[in-house]
Subunit: 307 residues, 2 copies
């Protein structure tokens, strides 16, 4: 089933210990869509400026991604510059130019309305909630957020969390949102805010999914899927968004949503995140095969499978 992804398209300038790249296609929606495109049909809702050229759109089109929802605005596309010289696990932002993204008001095309899956990328929680209201026929909504919204727009975020089924955030964000340093307890507090499931991403150590009692089946056990950088980490940009794309894309490809399916989705998230970091920008995500994805899924399964 198709999935609608709302988020940013950007041009990134990145410096890592392996090298540098200038003005390459990036943004949360871009990584998400490319990763999800290996599992299901993806429709994107984003905004770009006049500098977004045919060659950029081609990157999406080649993966069969529906680009009709990309709004073209006067001005320049969102630009971000960052470096990972001191720490591969955390970007140091050199500059952020919001440009056309500053006034972004996501609009859902009529022909996107029949999608049953929705992913709300890291944008203002009020915009997230408004998209969710428009798409009132969706079966499952995934969402992301970040420290900035947790601190600055907490009341709005708490409203939005009521309509998000699966929230995907990292350890720091989960602890900050919950005001609690113990991970399992922080997870319970976040689940009490609305989501049926909470995915906490641990960077290179994988991710843990916590379920609200009774959601997606019985039981109260969390589940952890690993990840492991198989090749050298060339550029960590987009790993989390690619994780979300693999996770949500796999869910959207399944007939039924139960805990086993969500556990497998967590593995696919780790798989797509691990591919993303092997090359600069989206290069690796543009040219994967399902065989490569399945094979890495097996490697990660072996990594944690006790007889």
């Amino acid at each position: 089933m198709s999935i609608v992804a709302v988020g940013s398209i950007a041009f990134d300038s990145i410096v890592t210990p392996s090298g540098r790249a200038e003005n390459i296609l990036g943004g949360s929606c871009t990584y998400f869509a490319l990763a999800a495109s290996y599992f299901t049909e993806v429709r994107i809702v984003a905004v770009v400026g006049e500098d977004f050229a045919t060659e950029h759109e081609e990157i999406f089109r080649k993966r069969g991604i529906d680009t009709q929802g990309i709004e073209r605005a006067k001005g320049k596309t969102f630009r971000w510059g960052g470096q990972y010289l001191d720490n591969l696990n955390e970007a140091k932002t050199d500059f952020t130019e919001l440009n056309v993204f500053e006034k972004f008001e996501p609009r859902i095309l009529r022909q996107y309305m029949d999608s049953k899956f929705l992913f709300l990328g890291n944008i203002h929680p009020t915009l997230q909630a408004s998209v969710r209201r428009e798409m009132n026929g969706v079966q499952l909504t995934g969402g992301d957020t970040m420290n900035f919204w947790i601190n600055r727009t907490r009341p709005e975020l708490l409203e939005t969390l009521k309509v998000i089924n699966v929230l995907l955030i990292n350890d720091t964000e989960a602890k900050m949102l919950a005001g609690e340093g113990n991970l399992p307890r922080a997870a319970q507090k976040v689940l009490a805010m609305g989501p049926q499931a909470l995915v906490i991403k641990h960077g290179e150590y994988g991710a843990t999914i916590f379920f609200r009692e009774g959601a997606f089946g019985i039981g109260h056990h969390p589940f952890r899927a690993p990840t492991l950088p198989i090749e050298e980490v060339k550029d960590p940009t987009g790993a989390g968004d690619s994780f979300a794309g693999g996770f949500m894309g796999y869910l959207a490809s399944q007939e039924e949503l139960n805990r086993e399916v969500l556990k497998r989705a967590l593995f696919y998230g780790g798989v797509m995140g691990s591919f993303a970091v092997e090359r600069f920008g989206t290069e690796r995500l543009q040219q994967l095969t399902r065989e490569e994805i399945n094979s890495r899924f097996q490697v990660f399964r072996e990594l944690t499978h006790l007889e």
Copy 2:
């Protein structure tokens, strides 16, 4: 089968966000021995000063640990003070007083010589190697080290690594020892230095074991066991040593050493580490039951078990 553990006994003064404790029993050998004592007979080789009292020895004796190998020297026991106010994952050392530990030369009692398992705690690599030579009948030697020895005594450490079967270190130490930032590649480099298996501890995210080709069975897949702080983390001191104690203790309790056994041992390491941090010092490790240990093993197994 019994295991001989060589390392430090200390008195620790610890400050964490949950409180503080002064001059409580600690040291790598202490945590290791208590954790391992739930699986097998443990014999310790360490040095203490005149301030080491009957009440301290009782903590070992109550767990059936053989304390005959504790040397009593003139002076004070090793003291360490540290705090975790900024970061629960990394101690900030307030003071280190080596005292009698400075001149520690481990001596193996004649009656310890029949032990088939040996754990070389974090001491000078030349001392580690000399103990290993003395104990020439051992079947499996585990070892720990740290940044200090990796930087200051690299040639001696490289010699010692040739006689260690399983090295247990953390991510930073593994990357530093290998001079390589990619974890799987760092692991291969360390394995080429001697050990048949390398356990890399990831703190609250568990640990990964890498095998040298052909060691403990066929295949080349690494394996990861999780850990999860079930209760509040009161005091992280000794988590890594307790991990090593659970890991080595379980190995020593098994008839055969194959990859499945080493994988299970990795789970028991995570289990014992997760218990250790629930109370200050060794409090929790003094009063566990096998039922509690088995039950947490099942929780961690559920955490990563894909149908």
